[in-house]
Amino acid sequence: MLQRLSQAINAAIEKVLFVIGAAICLILFAQVVFRYAGASLGWSEEVSRHLLVAITFLGGTVAYKRASFIGLKGFGHRLGPAIQRAIVVGLQVLTLACFGLIAWFGAAYTVKAAEHTSSSLQIPMAIPFSVIPAASVIFVLHVLADISGAPRRKTP
């Protein structure tokens, strides 16, 4: 159940990444064209920056799911399968705690940021900030799915 949910959310986030990636290309292309046409876009830079934040955190969840994060294999595998498994579970628990905390504080800050608006679009800053708690919850889900499922190699 947990694993199916984790996979379904990951598939949806991959589609979101495609939309964001395509949107950034089009917005920046339009930015250049409009500037040379004498009608600079006031909003393009802000929107693309916020989309980059979304790529970072949502893309991070997909990188975790696809085991694409940069890292070393670790020395645990030399110490036998039992110790390796203990190390993996220990690291998963630490990761879980870290993203749990970020989700908690992120949600609190997102609520607080609703009072502020962005400089050019005048949208509540809660919108761009919300990606951090949302991605952290997805991280928590992926880690829980990993803990409940079979051990998976985490690093390339």
């Binding site: 990636g21 970072t56 994060f69 940069i70 645990g76």
Partner: protein, 434 residues
């Protein structure tokens, strides 16, 4: 003390196998929320909100947008058949010298470096074609993989360069000037690697040599002309001040699409979703390190570490050349054991403060730091170009790492020239930006 513990946890977690981004973020967030690290009046909730703000601010940057875009442009060009065209054109240029194909791979890497900005992308793009071709011509597999990895490392020296984007973002130094500063050093690296390839091929009789023919050069040039146009548009646009680095990256994506779809007809619209998703994920792995490291470096700065390091270095009373040598030697060691983005983000705040004592200007130091870390991409245990080239060739890291040693040696020699002959890094930027 906290900073020492922070770095100990960082290296311990990396050694245990936790991804680098999380190895940086976990201890930083953990220590920030630990009672007693900050004065008693500071509330945990305020620190938690600071963490969220730092994570956001770490990547809320127009300059960093260039990272996913250059990744995507490189991926499109690679899928669009550019690698073969660049190798064929380079082979027609230098295939007549001993070790001709090895030299051609290095020249092709230099051309590809003008498009991609990532050493791993450069290595992957050419390795799949170049390593089997070199083995067919009688080059030893480990040497072939090492040459491709060395060529790939030029990807971050010749602009565009993702590590230079990160350095510029961290220090507010002009990214365009850094790009201009890397140009000649990249060419020097390429020539140095070619010298090793020629020496080895001549000594051991590797490979076959082809006859130089202007007709062949012209024919392969016509084939590759659209692909060769990409670096001209990207670098020309940036250096002429027509577009910003990030805008140039977006234009590179559209130009790459045009070449891959309309000219080479190797890419279809239905390939695009996977290409975009894959490049966003690769970019996210770098950006995530940057976001997490923002919390780490904030904590390090709060504990006055850059100033402590600065006063410790001042107490050594080294002459500028000696200090530069010490820093470069230290960076070479760091480059061997640490991933480039992490090394840049963790060390730039400390090292940028002592740039004047080293007698170098910020542009030269930025280029030197990126070049230095590029050498680290060729050395085990953490050499991204070696990882990619071992993945393609199926050879063990140790074997390719040993074969790469002569290439690492000339790379260090080229680095020393760049250190102590400033015009190599400063002449080109000063020519363009008078």
């Amino acid at each position: 003390m906290i900073v020492l513990l922070l770095f100990t946890c960082l290296f311990a977690l990396i050694a245990l196998g936790l991804p680098i981004a999380l190895s940086i973020g976990l201890p930083a967030i953990g220590f920030m929320l630990t009672p007693g690290v900050f004065p008693a009046g500071v509330q945990i909730s305020a620190l938690g909100q600071t963490i969220v703000q730092l994570l956001f601010a770490g990547v809320d940057s127009f300059d960093l947008l260039a990272i996913p875009l250059f990744m995507l442009a490189g991926a499109i060009m690679e899928t669009g058949g550019i690698s073969r065209q660049l190798i064929d054109f380079s082979d027609s240029l230098v295939g007549w010298v001993p070790g001709g194909l090895a030299c051609a791979v290095i020249v092709a890497s230099m051309f590809f470096a003008g498009i991609s900005g990532s050493a791993a992308a450069d290595t992957a793009a050419l390795g799949a074609i170049a390593i089997p071709a070199m083995i067919r011509q009688g080059y030893p597999p480990a040497f072939s993989a090492a040459v491709v990895a060395a060529g790939g490392s030029i990807g971050v020296i010749i602009p565009p360069s993702i590590p230079m984007v990160i350095f510029g973002f961290l220090t507010n130094v002009s990214i365009a000037k850094l790009f201009a500063g890397g140009m000649l050093v990249g060419v020097l690296f390429g020539l140095s690697f070619m010298a090793v390839a020629v020496w080895h091929a001549w000594r051991h009789g590797y490979g076959t040599r082809q006859v130089f023919s202007l007709r062949l050069v012209w024919a392969s040039f016509k084939e590759a002309i659209w692909s060769l146009g990409a670096p001209v548009i990207v670098l020309g646009g940036i250096l002429a001040g027509i577009v910003t680095v990030t805008e140039a990256a977006a234009l590179a994506v559209f130009y790459a699409l045009f070449v891959a779809m309309a000219v080479n007809r190797r890419l279809k619209w239905q390939d695009m979703p996977e290409l975009i998703i894959r490049s966003q994920i690769v970019a996210a792995t770098i950006l995530f390190i940057i976001a997490m490291a923002k919390v780490f470096t904030w904590l390090v700065a709060m504990k006055q570490t850059p100033m402590l390091v600065q006063s410790a270095i001042n107490s050594l009373a080294l002459p500028p050349w000696g200090l530069l040598l010490l820093v470069m030697a230290g960076l070479l060691v760091v480059g061997c054991i640490m991933e480039t983005t992490a090394a840049l983000i963790l060390l730039v705040p400390v090292l940028a403060a002592i740039t004047p004592q080293m007698g170098v200007d910020p542009i030269q130091f930025g280029v030197l730091m990126v070049v230095n870390l590029a050498v680290g991409m060729l050395t085990p245990p953490v050499g991204i170009c070696l990882f990619v080239s071992c993945g393609i060739s199926g050879l063990p890291l140790g074997q390719v790492g040993r074969a790469a040693m002569p290439l690492v040696a000339v790379a260090i020699a080229a680095l020393l020239i760049a250190c102590y002959w400033p015009p190599l890094t400063t002449w080109f930027p000063s020519l363009i930006y008078k």
